[in-house]
């Protein structure tokens, strides 16, 4: 998305990893890579309850409030799995981790795209999604899905997760 951030992210990540190998400093949990081959498992129906994919990006000013609303709901509902999926590339993992840490959202499993074609991952995750963010995809144990584009309020989160 941003040339300088990517370059900065890539070189910073190399340094950070090298340092980590030696000194293991405390740092925000970085997102793990999501490639095309991983999408099947990501969108697989959970054994019970619901899986919620919170799709977001660094360039989305509405996304953090959406991530926060979903996290709050998930903390109160043990049968809900929540995964943050950033559509930004893994080269920005430090920026992604920092953004989540600053928003106190770094205790939720996080992924970031690693594919030459982000639009392809968008399509594989949800073919009815045009790439707008935030996007929330709910996948239930029976395989049924609900999706919502835009920031969710706590009320909207409950409505989305509880509508059947």
């Amino acid at each position: 998305m941003i040339a300088w951030l990517r370059r900065r992210g890539a070189s910073a990540a190399l340094c950070a990893l090298a340092v980590f190998s030696m000194a293991a400093p405390v740092r925000a949990a970085a997102p793990t890579p999501l490639a095309a081959a991983d999408v099947g498992a990501l969108v697989a129906a959970p054994a019970k309850g619901s899986k919620v994919l919170a799709l977001w990006s660094l360039d989305c000013a509405y996304c953090e409030e959406n991530l926060a609303a979903l996290r709050t709901y998930q903390r109160q509902h043990a049968d809900v799995q929540l995964v943050y999926v950033a559509t930004d590339p893994m080269a920005q993992r430090d920026a992604l981790a920092q953004r989540l840490k600053d928003a106190k959202l770094d205790d939720v499993p996080a992924r970031a795209y690693t594919d030459a074609t982000p639009d392809r991952l968008n399509f594989m995750i949800d073919p009815t999604w045009g790439g707008e963010t935030p996007r929330t995809l709910v996948i239930r144990a029976d395989g049924s899905r609900e999706a919502y584009s835009g920031a969710l309020t706590p009320e909207r989160v409950a409505k989305l997760l509880e509508q059947r």
Partner: protein, 387 residues
């Protein structure tokens, strides 16, 4: 100790390999292309922190000239809706704009440079707007009007910042513009086009038959209904903004999906836009009638379709877009030979297993080509169907 060193070496090697793999898709692919009136193709893109302008004399197969616009590098937004732009003046002037990220998230400055010697040299870049707050001034768009004036429009959050400080509600961002009547030597202090418009969608600019530049962009109506507005951008004087689409798409979010506009010699405003009202993503064609529903609306494409561009030449209208499939990205085309009343079936004119900057339709000698750069390899894709 030896085992630890080995482990360290393996970790660094693994990290390096991972980054190398990641960097394979690092190069931002945003570009713009334009034909001059002597048949030369001009392409702008980025190389790291540098904006690059190239001239091709054979429709993009080779580049006879390649010039770095900003020898002193700077951060550049160079992808998706935030790509560098190029426009040509009546005397061969080359104008280039881009958005420069600042340190804080979502911030940026709109930058401008020009060449008055056919692309051999470019002036030192300058910031178009007078406002120097570290906020959003991004998603620049660039056009030259019939008198040779340079118009730059962008998305600007100064009014959102002011409202936030005053604890007043404000949705989205404002849209601003400026102009230069002296070939880019100076720009007029910026003016607001409208408040509460979308903060992440490109602004479409097109020249009307009277030579003026019109803007078509995503705006916000009521509670985050993100439709589109239309305005003629005067060189001085009041801007009249009217709602031009009525899809009723509600989204408190970032569509990252701006429209496209082309105006024919009779003044018909051909446009394409994206919306996902009722959870159905689609690209729609219509002829804009600001203030009321567009005429001749037609659904161009649905799931997986994105970033449409269009061009018009007489009664011939072309629409190109990206169609994602499970197997890769297809460059799609639909054509109308009756001024946009009806369109033929969609057909794929190129495909890639990788990514490309958004397609840009370019007209040359009454033919349409789609400028495209899958994997960073620029090409001009002819639109004619095989006979």
């Amino acid at each position: 100790m030896r085992a630890m060193l080995l482990l360290l070496a393996v970790s660094i090697q693994a990290a390096h390999a991972h980054d190398m793999a990641g960097m394979a898709n690092e190069a931002p692919l945003g570009f713009d292309a334009a034909m001059d009136n002597t048949g030369h193709l001009w392409v702008v893109d980025t190389v790291g922190e540098h904006v690059r302008v190239r001239r091709s004399d054979d429709m993009g197969r080779d580049f006879a000239l390649s010039t770095i616009v900003n020898p002193t590098g700077e951060p550049i937004y160079a992808e998706g809706e935030n790509r560098p732009k190029i426009a040509l003046g009546p005397k061969g002037e080359l104008y280039v704009t881009w958005s420069q990220p600042r340190k804080a998230p979502w911030t940026g400055f709109v930058r401008f440079s020009r060449s008055l010697d056919g692309g051999a040299h470019f002036d030192a870049p300058k910031t178009v707007h007078t406002d120097t707050a570290e906020i959003t001034h991004r998603f620049d768009s660039l056009a030259v009007d019939g008198k040779g004036n340079v118009i730059v429009a962008w998305i600007d959050k100064r009014d959102l910042e002011a409202a936030t400080r005053a604890h007043k509600p404000y949705l989205g961002a404002a849209t601003y513009y400026s102009w230069s009547t002296d070939s880019g030597t100076t720009f007029a202090p910026e003016r607001k086009i409208t408040d509460q418009s979308c903060e992440c969608c490109r602004i479409a600019l097109a020249r009307a038959p009277d030579g003026s530049i019109d803007a078509f962009f995503r705006a916000i109506y009521g509670d985050n209904i993100r439709d589109h507005a239309y305005a003629t951008l005067p060189i001085g004087g009041k801007v009249n903004v009217q709602r031009a689409t009525f899809t009723q798409w509600h989204i408190e979010g970032c569509p990252h999906h701006g429209p496209s506009l082309a105006i024919d010699a009779a003044g018909t405003r051909h446009a394409v836009w994206f919306s996902a009202a009722d959870g159905k993503p689609q690209i729609t064609y219509g002829q804009l009638q600001p203030g009321k529903e567009p005429a001749h609306q037609a659904i161009v494409a649905g799931n997986g379709a994105s970033h449409a561009d269009l061009a018009v030449d007489g009664r011939h209208v072309w629409i190109a877009w990206h169609q994602m499939t499970a197997n890769g990205l297809e460059l799609m085309l639909r054509e109308s030979n009756d001024g946009g009343t009806t369109f033929g079936e969609p057909r794929a004119i190129a495909n890639t297993s990788g990514a490309s900057g958004w397609p840009k339709l370019v007209l040359h000698d009454h033919r349409a080509f789609v400028a495209w750069n899958p994997g960073g390899q620029f090409r001009m894709v002819p639109t004619e169907a095989l006979q």
